[in-house]
């Protein structure tokens, strides 16, 4: 890297907005943790043995670390990535072998009164590694070997963490797929992921209900969706002016509508899903024909997609029953509303919703959250910290916090895009994506929109390793960005 670094002081170049937001979030987090662990009996703000006190220590450690991170030259991080990666993977392996089992998972290394979670450090080190790998050698998205290695770099930490039985933390790594997408990975993967997720949700949610007794509502809606998606894909990706998409659309929808009327008004009902399958089969054949006729690859791929979708639909049950663990099944069913689990997982969600919901517009005031103070929400200083904010600061406070987060994320992306070097840009996207997915899952879970997956809310949740990990994650990028600013 030949760069002339402008001797303007580092401190003037560092992005002050990000630092302000960071400090704001950390302080709010600390106060909220204090409130969440607040006891009617002991009200000591600075007791170092209490949760809030410990958080304060970790805040201090993080601030000191942040300071040093900013001082260290950017090149260091670049060279740190691969070596650091190996070290952290080793730590993860070590944790897997020797960590004590806490609440069903082995993810903590304990040193006396303090414990650390290597998984939190795996987040930023993987980000650095992926950023370096993607920016080196003019990496080619079309070269299958490179892609394989790329995915391996992603999947190794995921796998190790998954083996630690921290499936939530492992899933967060999928955030990096967003980065791949940004860097040129075909959006098909994401799109397919979204489709399959919809099939999954629809199939489970409505699987048990029927349309006039003969047709499973779940199957019906998913097959209909597949038909619509296929015709949409044909419209988008097949030749312009070609009406194949319209043929598929009408060919699938019109007979089905007739079948609906038939089923409703006559007494010879039948399973409409069978009709839909037949029609989709015809559509696949038609698409293949289009492919041969126009010598184009796309329709064939679309046909493949249709086949995979149908296979997926009928494989959902199998997946759900055999692959997922019972508690995971429960969480999903509770989320979808098909199952009530008032004393188990459903309890968490209920209490969280009650807690937030009772906040009203202005909230009950700092330290006044009854649900929080009286410990109705479990894990309320870690995973469910947003509840406390919802209860004590109400709609106004919650929305404000979300907007602050949103601004941070958007700003990070903006900062990433202005990077001169790909490494910095990619790393910036990694930071934004990771933080975003944490926000998405954590707040989504607390609001009852996502299944219960235990991951922290960055900078707010109580937890030293997490806070330190996120701080390092963020400040490395701030240093990279500061250098970037000084280059111009």
């Amino acid at each position: 890297m030949n760069s002339k670094i402008n001797p303007i002081s580092l401190w003037k170049a560092v992005d002050i907005q990000t630092i302000v937001i960071y400090l704001f979030l950390v302080i709010v987090g600390w106060l909220t943790v204090f409130s969440a662990s607040y006891n009617y009996d002991s009200a000591v703000l600075f007791d170092l043995n209490s949760t809030a006190g410990k958080q304060l220590i970790w805040i201090a450690v993080s601030l000191v670390t942040a300071f040093f991170i900013l001082l260290i030259d950017a090149k260091f991080y670049y060279y740190l990535s691969y070596n650091g990666y190996i070290i952290v993977m080793f730590l993860l392996l070590l944790t897997l072998l020797i960590a004590p089992e806490i609440k069903g998972s082995r993810s903590w290394l304990v040193f006396g009164p303090f414990s650390i979670q290597p998984a939190e450090f795996a987040k930023f080190i993987t980000a650095l590694t992926l950023a370096r790998y993607l920016s080196d050698y003019g990496f080619n998205t079309r070269h299958p070997g490179s892609i394989a290695i790329l995915f391996a770099l992603l999947l190794i930490p995921m796998g190790l963490i998954f083996l630690q039985k921290e499936s939530g933390t492992a899933l967060v790594f999928l955030a990096f797929l967003l980065v791949f997408f940004r860097e040129g990975m075909s959006g098909v993967l994401l799109f397919a992921g979204a489709c399959f997720l919809s099939y999954f949700v629809l199939g489970l949610r409505f699987g048990e209900q029927t349309l006039w007794e003969h047709t499973s509502l779940g199957n019906f809606s998913v097959l209909l969706l597949i038909a619509l998606v296929v015709s949409g894909l044909l419209l988008r990706y097949h030749k312009k002016d070609n009406k194949a998409w319209l043929v598929v659309l009408l060919g699938n929808v019109l007979p089905v509508m007739a079948a609906l009327i038939w089923n409703r008004f006559t007494k010879w009902g039948f399973d409409i899903a069978l009709l839909q399958l037949a029609l989709l089969g015809l559509s696949v054949v038609y698409a293949l024909y289009q492919s041969i006729r126009h010598n184009s690859r796309n329709p064939a791929l679309i046909a493949l997609f249709a086949v995979l979708s149908v296979a997926f639909l009928y494989g959902i049950d199998y997946t759900f029953d055999r692959v997922l663990q019972p508690h995971q099944q429960t969480r999903i069913l509770v989320l979808l509303g098909t199952m009530d689990d008032p004393s188990g997982v459903g309890y968490n969600i209920n209490q969280a919703k009650i807690s937030i919901g009772s906040g009203g517009f202005w909230g009950k005031g700092f330290l006044n959250g009854t649900q929080t103070k009286l410990k109705y929400v479990p894990e309320q200083d870690t995973d469910f910290i947003f509840c406390t904010i919802g209860e004590e600061f109400g709609f106004a406070g919650s929305v404000f916090l979300l907007l602050v987060y949103g601004y941070l994320l958007v700003r990070l992306i903006f900062m990433a895009d202005r990077q001169h070097f790909a490494f910095a840009r990619i790393y910036g996207y990694c930071v934004a994506s990771l933080l975003f997915v944490h926000l998405l899952v954590n707040v989504g879970m607390v609001l009852g929109l996502m299944p219960v997956i235990g991951i922290p809310l960055p900078f707010l949740s109580y937890g030293g390793s997490a806070l330190l990990g996120f701080t390092i994650l963020l400040f490395i990028f701030l240093r990279l960005d500061a250098d970037n600013m000084r280059r111009h």
Partner: protein, 619 residues
């Protein structure tokens, strides 16, 4: 390593879009939860708020002279929450409570034993000791803060200044499921009146529960008051009652009735207020208070003498000769006889090849003397003559007239006294007799026993005392009642009413004289009731019974402007004169004069020593 910025910069924008979209969805969801859904507030409340019921003081009960009869006493239960007992100085606790260590240990073991204590949970308060007295409460309360896990709840139990009037007062015990279903004021563990006045006036005596809103954490521990008590509701104490009973008279009556079965009902004629309400055998109302009441109840109930039978309103007997004054009134009203009409009596009444017996007395007698001497023949003949009288178109019509008049004096239906479970007695309808004998199958001779108060006619002691009041008032009565006043409430005029009988006032003159004659005349059957200085009127009766007959007596005094009328009924007492009359006499004297004259003390002693409980069984 230059970045290719433009190639995929659009994708960066897409990511921004996704982020904004997600945040927007979250905001909408927050709005739904926090602004548009009220239920979460309520759930939060039911989570975190504990509404502690504060029980009001139950109304106390006074007698007619303002003397306290029933009141409340606070008892304290000691509760323990085992999980919070850490750091307890057991020694100090035991010494404060004045129990020994062994007792403490045993108590804790018993509490934890799920067979003995099925509802056990180490998180919720368990009963450690109950009904601590006020004396023991004081020192414990002072030091309570030193004993973690222990708390005191207070309960209020009924106390009686004298062990009397248990049938009238009733008792208070825990509600059962049916009560809770019918009135959702009650919850499990509440108390309500189960019988007597306590039951009848439950809604007034119980007051209104108050509410203290407290904060409660997820383990159920109380953490303090909510909102500084702004949502608390103070309890409303129950209203007190003043009864019409005279406590001294009541106590005296119960004492006289000891070892006997029967009833005494005394009424103040002008007001319908019940002065004494005695049902024997009786029991100490304190036995049905507190945790041992069930056991006592079972013991009392198992007695063959039917202790819980509320005799004044629940037992009914043929009134016997006491009905004769009423018959006389009816015959006069219907012009069947006049006061000077005489009927002959030959030691009995002969009719249709049957004889209705009578005791010896001069013959023939007019109405007045027939009452004094209690002549069966007179009334049998007059009754028969009424039923068969040509002034009516049929036997049925005649009977209807008779029935209407007798019922207007309070017989045959519930009087509406303010006690539960009142019986109505029986005056058969024409349909009844038609049913047995056929429309043309009966006449005066068939039902002649009614004439002298035997036959199918049945009356409760209260009805008999009440009809005596009709005589006192010369033609009307006020609904008899035990509660004179509910403090703080207007008198309820809908239930206490004046009832006018169908008998004109002028007919009462000879009847009253006849009843006076029963006391003064040489052939009078009630001579024993006479009290020096007071004009007493009375009528004896003997209710036939397999075994020894029952002894009945109605009376009132003074003759002009009666202050008290009374019915005394003694099961298996034999002739009215033997036991019922002297008892009535003493009661009247007690009420009107305040005490028994020394010269008559012997009567009192005789009565107190009499034991008639097992007479029936001996025969």
């Amino acid at each position: 390593m230059r970045s290719s910025t433009t190639d995929y910069e659009n994708r960066g924008r897409i990511l921004i879009l996704i982020i904004v979209g997600v945040i927007f969805i979250f905001i909408v969801r927050l709005a739904y939860l926090q602004l548009f859904s009220e239920e979460y507030d309520k759930y939060a409340d039911s989570n975190a708020l504990f509404k502690k019921t504060i029980y009001p003081e139950r109304g106390v009960i006074y007698d007619r002279n303002g003397k306290l009869m029933v009141y409340n006493q606070a008892f304290y239960d000691i509760m323990v929450t085992p999980r919070e007992m850490q750091g307890l100085d057991t020694l100090e606790f035991c010494s404060t409570l004045k129990i020994d260590r062994a007792f403490f240990e045993k108590r804790m073991t018993d509490i934890r034993n799920r067979r003995l204590n099925p509802g056990y949970s180490s998180y919720t308060p368990q009963l450690f000791m109950s009904q601590l007295s006020v004396e023991a409460y004081g020192p414990l309360q002072e030091k309570l803060y030193r004993f973690p896990g222990f708390s005191i709840t207070n309960r209020s139990l009924r106390r009686y200044s004298r062990p009397i009037a248990s049938h009238a007062l009733g008792y208070v015990a825990e509600v059962n499921r049916k009560d809770i279903e019918e009135d959702n004021y009650y919850t499990l563990g509440d108390y309500s009146g189960r019988s007597g006045i306590e039951k009848m006036y439950e809604n007034v005596l119980r007051g209104e529960k108050g509410v203290e809103v407290l904060l409660r954490d997820v383990h159920g521990r109380i953490k303090g008051s909510y909102n500084e008590g702004k949502r608390d509701l103070p309890p409303v104490p129950g209203k007190d009652l003043t009864l019409s009973l005279d406590m001294d008279l009541q106590e005296y009556g119960e004492k006289l009735m000891e070892n006997k079965r029967g009833a005494i009902v005394a009424i103040e004629p002008k007001t319908g207020e019940i002065l004494a309400y005695v049902s024997a055998p009786s029991y100490d109302p304190s036995l049905l208070v507190g945790s041992t009441w069930v056991q006592h109840y079972m013991e009392l109930e198992s007695s063959p003498h039917k202790i819980f039978l509320n005799r004044p309103i629940q037992s009914f007997y043929p009134p016997g000769s006491t009905i004769k004054p009423a018959q006389g009134l009816i015959f006069l009203q219907e012009n069947i006889i006049s006061p000077s009409t005489k009927f002959a009596c030959y030691g009995g009444y002969f009719f249709a090849r049957q004889k209705l017996g009578c005791h010896s007395h001069p013959s023939p007698l007019n109405l007045l003397d027939a009452i004094s001497a209690s002549c069966n023949a007179y009334f049998a003949a007059a009754y028969r003559s009424m039923i068969d009288h040509p002034q009516y178109s049929s036997v049925q019509e005649a009977y209807e007239h008779w029935r209407r008049l007798i019922c207007s004096m309070g017989f045959g239906s519930r009087l509406g006294v303010d006690l539960p479970y009142e019986q109505s007695g029986l005056i058969p309808t024409t349909d009844y007799y038609n049913g047995i004998y056929g429309q043309r199958g009966w006449r005066g001779a068939t039902i002649i026993s009614n004439g002298i108060g035997q036959g199918e006619v049945l009356a409760t002691p209260l009805q008999m005392a009440n009809y005596c009041a009709v005589i006192c008032n010369k033609g009307w009565y006020i609904t008899p009642h035990i509660v004179r006043q509910v403090h703080g409430m207007e008198a309820d005029t809908s239930t206490i009413k004046k009832h006018v009988s169908g008998i004109d006032p002028e007919h009462f003159e000879p009847i009253i004289e006849g009843m006076r004659g029963a006391v003064t005349s040489p052939m009078g059957t009630s001579k024993g009731v006479s009290i020096p200085g007071i004009e007493v009127c009375g009528k004896t009766g003997t209710a036939e019974n397999p075994g020894v007959d029952h002894s009945i007596f109605i009376c009132f005094a003074p003759k002009d402007d009666p202050q008290i009328c009374m019915l005394v009924f003694i099961e298996n007492g034999g002739f009215g004169a033997t036991w019922a009359v002297p008892m009535a006499s003493l009661m009247l004297e007690k009420y009107l004069k305040g005490s028994i004259a020394p010269g008559r003390k012997w009567m009192e002693t005789r009565l107190l020593n009499a034991n008639l409980m097992n007479v029936e069984l001996k025969d």
